[in-house]
Amino acid sequence: MKELTLQEPKPILTVNKWKFIIWLFIVTIIMFFAAFTSAYLVRRAEGNWTDFQIPVIFWYSTAVLVVSSVFMHLSYLAAKKDEFLKLRTFISLTFGFGLLFLVMQYLGWLDLQSQGIFLKGNPSGSFYYVLTGLHGFHLVTGLVVLLYAFLAARKMAVHSKNMTQIEVCATYWHFLDILWVYLFLFLLFFR
C-alpha cells in the first residue's frame, strides 16, 4: 500500500468536500428509508394487511417529479455554460414542479382518505402516509436547497468556475427524485 500511494502523488484532493458531505448525507437518508421499507416488509409478512387502490394521481406526480429532475439537469448545464438567464429559469421551473409534486401528493392523500384509508388504522395505510409524508418532508428541504441555489444564481455566485453549489443541489434533487421512484415502485409492488 505504501508504494502504491507514493507512485501517484500529484493531485490529492480530487473529491470536493461538499460533494462528499452531500453523498454521506444521502447515505443517511437511504438508511432512514431502508429502515422504513424493511420494517414495512417484515410487518407485511405477518399478515393482517389491508389492501387498497393506489391513487392514480401518484402516477402523475411521479411524472412531474421526473420532469423537475430534467429541469434540474438543464439548469446545471446552463450554469456550466454561464447562461445565467437560462439557469435562473430552469431553477425556477424545477422549484415550481417540485411544489406541484407536493400539491399532487396532498391530493393523493385526500383520495386515500376518500377510500377510507387513514393514518390511524391498519399499518398498511399508516405506512403509506408515513413514507409519502417523510419523502414530502425531504422534498421540502430540497426546495430550500433550490431556493438557496436560486438566490446564489441571482447574485451571480453560480457559474462555470463555481459549480459546487449547483452540483450539490442537483445531486440532492436527483436523489430525492430517485428516492420517490423507489418508494413508489416499492409501494406499488408490495401492497
Partner: protein, 624 residues
C-alpha cells in the same frame, strides 16, 4: 466573465479577512467553529453528564444494596419521589435506571467520548486546519446541547422522566396508562433523542469527510494513527445506524401521538381495550437493536483507538500489528451490523434466526480477541512509562478482556435463555463497553490534556484516581456476575419478594459501597481537571515524546492549528525506539532522508519519493 472574476476576488477577500479577524467572545468560545473549542465543549458537557449519570446510579444502588434504608434524608434532593415512609418510589427507580442508561450510553460515551476526541484529534492528527465544515460542527454541538437541555428538563417533570429503560420497548413506552414515565417524560426523551441523532449525524458526516478529504501531504491512509482509523469506523457506524433509530423513534412518535398501530396490537389496559390492531412490538426491537448494537461499538471503538495511541507511546514501542488492528476494527464494524438480534433470543423470534445470529455473534469475538492480544504484545519488551493515561489504558484492556469473555456465554442462545435480562448481562456490558469506554475517555483526557489546555495534569492525583477507580470498578461489576448466575433479574426494585432471589443481600451491599466510593473518587479527577486548567504546570509542546502530528502544534492552541505551513508526513506514526535512532521516537513529519542511521532498507528506497510528496498541490478552489 468579468463579473465572475470580481466575484472570485471578493470571496477570497472575505476569506482572508475572516482568518485574521479577532473573533468576539461569543463566536470564539460559545458559538465557535473551531474544532478544539467544540471538542472542549463536548468534553465538559460529557463530564457534567457523567457526574449526573453516576449520581443517579448511586441513588438506585442505595435502594438495591440497602433495601430497608430510610431515605428521608434524600427528600431535599428528590422531593416526592421519596414517600412518607422514607422509601424510594418504584416508578422513580425505573426512571433512574432509564436515565442512567440513556445518559451514559448516549450523552457521555457517545457525545462525550466520540464528540470530544474525534473533534479534537482528527484535524490535529491528520494535519488539517479544521474540520471539513466548521459550521456543521458547531451545529452538531448545539443540537447536542439542545438535546441535553430537553433531556435534563425531563428529569424535573411531575410524572418523572422516561421510565421504560433505555431501550424504550413499546408498548410500555407508548402507553402513558402503563407507566407515568411514558407520558411527557417519554415525549421529551424522544424529542431529545431525535435532536441527538441529528447532532451525531452532522458530526459523523463531518468526521468522515475530514479524514477522507483534508489529510496533509504524505498522510496516506496507511500512515494514519489508529485513533483516526477508530474514529472513522465509529463515524461510519453512526452514519449507517443512527438513521434507523430515528425511523424507529418516529414510528413510535406516530403510535404515541397520532394513534397509528405500528408497534401496538391487542392491548387491554386500565379496564378498556385499545383500538390498535395489527402492530408488532418485536418490529420495534429489530429497528432499535439495529442501531443499539452498533451503538456499543460506537462507544468502544474510539476508546480502543485512544488506547492504541497511548499504549504505543508509553511503551516506547510501535503498536503491534498495525494492519491487523485496522482489519480487526473493520471486521468489528462490519459484523456489528449483523448481530443485533442476539439481544432478542427470547422474544419469540424465529429460533432459526436465533441460530444464525448466534453464529455471527460469536464470530465477532475473534477480531475483538485479536485486538486484545495485539495490545498485550505491544507491552512485551517495551519500556513502559506509567503515566495516568497509560494506567487507564491498561485498565481498559483488562476490562475489555474480562467483560468481553462473558459475551461468549451471552452470545450463545442456549445459555442466554437463563441469563438473559439478569445481572450477568449488566455485569458483562458494564465492563466491556461501559467501564472500558469510560477508561478510554479518562485516559484520553489525561493524555491529551497538555494539548487541550497547554497545562499538565497532576500525575500523583491521577494515580490515586486510577487505583481507586480501577479497584472500584472491578469491585462493583465482578460480583454482579455471581448475582446474575444466581438468576437475579435486572431492573428489579428489590428481590425480597422471591425466595429464589433472596440470597446475596451482602454482596449487593458491597457493590453499593464500592459504587459510591468509585463515584466519589471521580471528584479527585474533576478537581485535578479544573485545577490544572487554571493552575496546572505549563506543558511543553510534546510532553510524552509522541510521534503524531498534534504534538508539533504550539503549546498555546491557535486557530488553524499550525502557525506556518502544515507539516508534511513521511512515515507511519509508530516509529518508537527504532534501532539506530538517536532518540526513542521519530515524529511523523521527520523525513527518511533526515534519519539515514535508522532507516530500514525499504524506507531508504522511499527517500526518492519525498520530493514528490512535498510537491503535492492541493485543490484550494473549494472554500467553505
Amino acid at each position: 466573465m468579468s463579473a465572475v472574476s470580481v466575484e472570485n476576488v471578493h470571496t477570497h477577500d472575505e476569506h482572508a479577512h475572516g482568518e485574521h479577524h479577532e473573533l468576539g467572545f461569543i463566536r470564539k468560545y460559545i458559538f465557535s467553529e473551531d474544532h478544539k473549542i467544540i471538542a472542549k465543549q463536548y468534553l465538559i458537557s460529557g463530564i457534567v453528564w457523567a457526574v449526573l449519570g453516576g449520581l443517579l446510579s448511586v441513588i438506585f444502588r442505595l435502594q438495591l444494596g440497602f433495601p430497608d434504608m430510610d431515605m428521608t434524608w434524600l427528600k431535599p434532593l428528590l422531593g416526592d419521589w421519596i414517600n412518607e415512609s422514607g422509601k424510594l418510589d418504584p416508578n422513580f427507580y425505573l426512571a433512574l435506571v432509564t436515565m442512567h442508561g440513556t445518559i451514559m450510553v448516549f450523552f457521555v460515551l457517545t457525545a462525550g467520548l466520540s464528540g470530544t476526541f474525534s473533534n479534537f484529534l482528527i484535524p490535529l492528527q491528520i494535519g488539517a486546519r479544521d474540520m471539513a465544515s466548521g459550521f456543521m460542527n458547531m451545529l452538531s454541538y448545539w443540537f447536542f446541547f439542545a438535546s441535553s437541555v430537553i433531556m435534563f428538563i425531563s428529569l424535573f417533570l411531575k410524572t418523572g422522566p422516561a421510565g421504560g429503560s433505555w431501550v424504550i420497548y413499546p408498548p410500555l413506552s407508548a402507553l402513558k396508562e402503563a407507566n407515568p414515565g411514558s407520558g411527557d417524560g417519554m415525549t421529551l426523551w424522544l424529542v431529545a433523542m431525535a435532536l441527538f441523532i441529528v447532532s451525531s449525524l452532522l458530526g459523523g458526516i463531518n468526521y468522515v469527510t475530514t479524514v477522507i478529504n483534508l489529510r496533509t501531504k504524505g498522510m496516506s491512509m496507511d500512515k494514519l494513527p489508529l485513533t483516526i482509523w477508530a474514529f472513522t469506523f465509529t463515524a461510519i457506524l453512526g452514519i449507517l445506524s443512527f438513521p434507523v433509530l430515528l425511523s424507529a423513534a418516529l414510528l413510535l412518535i406516530f403510535d404515541r401521538s397520532f394513534g397509528t398501530s405500528f408497534f401496538l396490537s391487542d392491548i387491554y389496559i386500565n379496564g378498556q381495550a385499545l383500538p390498535n390492531q395489527g402492530g408488532s412490538p418485536i418490529l420495534f426491537q429489530h429497528l432499535f437493536w439495529f442501531l443499539g448494537h452498533p451503538e456499543v461499538y460506537i462507544v468502544i471503538l474510539p476508546a480502543l483507538g485512544l488506547t492504541s495511541e497511548i499504549i504505543a507511546t508509553n511503551s516506547r514501542k510501535p503498536i503491534f500489528g498495525y494492519k491487523a488492528m485496522i482489519f480487526s476494527m473493520a471486521g468489528i464494524m462490519f459484523l456489528a451490523f449483523i448481530v443485533w438480534a442476539h439481544h432478542m433470543f427470547v422474544t419469540g423470534m424465529n429460533p432459526f434466526l436465533g441460530s444464525v445470529f448466534m453464529l455471527l455473534t460469536l464470530i465477532i469475538a475473534v477480531p475483538s480477541a485479536v485486538k486484545g492480544f495485539n495490545y498485550i504484545t505491544t507491552l512485551w519488551k517495551g519500556n513502559i512509562i506509567f503515566t495516568p493515561a497509560m494506567l487507564f489504558a491498561i485498565g481498559l484492556v483488562s476490562f475489555f478482556v474480562s467483560g468481553g469473555l462473558t459475551g461468549i456465554i451471552l452470545g450463545n442462545s442456549a445459555l442466554d435463555i437463563q441469563l438473559h435480562d439478569t445481572y450477568f448481562v449488566v455485569a458483562h456490558f458494564h465492563l466491556v463497553m461501559g467501564s472500558a469506554a469510560f477508561f478510554g475517555m479518562i485516559a484520553g483526557v489525561y493524555h491529551w490534556f497538555p494539548k487541550m489546555y497547554g497545562k499538565m495534569m497532576n500525575s500523583t492525583l491521577g494515580y490515586i484516581h486510577f487505583w481507586i477507580t480501577f479497584a472500584g470498578v472491578y469491585f462493583v461489576f465482578f460480583p454482579m456476575h455471581y448475582i446474575g448466575i444466581a438468576g437475579f433479574p435486572r431492573r428489579y426494585y428489590q428481590w425480597s419478594g422471591f425466595d429464589t432471589f433472596s440470597s446475596y443481600a451482602d454482596l449487593n451491599a458491597i457493590i453499593t459501597i464500592a459504587a459510591i466510593l468509585t463515584f466519589l473518587a471521580q471528584g479527585i479527577f474533576i478537581f485535578n481537571f479544573v485545577y490544572s486548567i487554571f493552575k496546572g504546570k505549563k506543558a511543553t509542546e510534546n510532553p510524552w515524546k509522541s510521534n503524531t502530528l498534534e504534538w508539533t502544534t504550539p503549546v498555546e492552541p491557535i486557530h488553524g492549528n499550525w502557525p506556518g505551513e502544515i507539516p508534511t508526513v513521511y512515515r507511519w506514526p509508530y516509529d518508537y525506539s527504532k534501532p539506530g535512532a538517536s532518540d526513542d521516537f521519530i515524529p511523523q513529519n521527520v523525513p527518511f532522508s533526515a534519519t539515514p542511521e535508522s532507516n530500514l532498507p525499504e524506507e531508504t528506497e522511499l527517500i526518492k519519493s519525498e520530493k514528490e510528496i512535498e510537491g503535492i498541490k492541493f485543490d484550494t478552489s473549494i472554500h467553505d
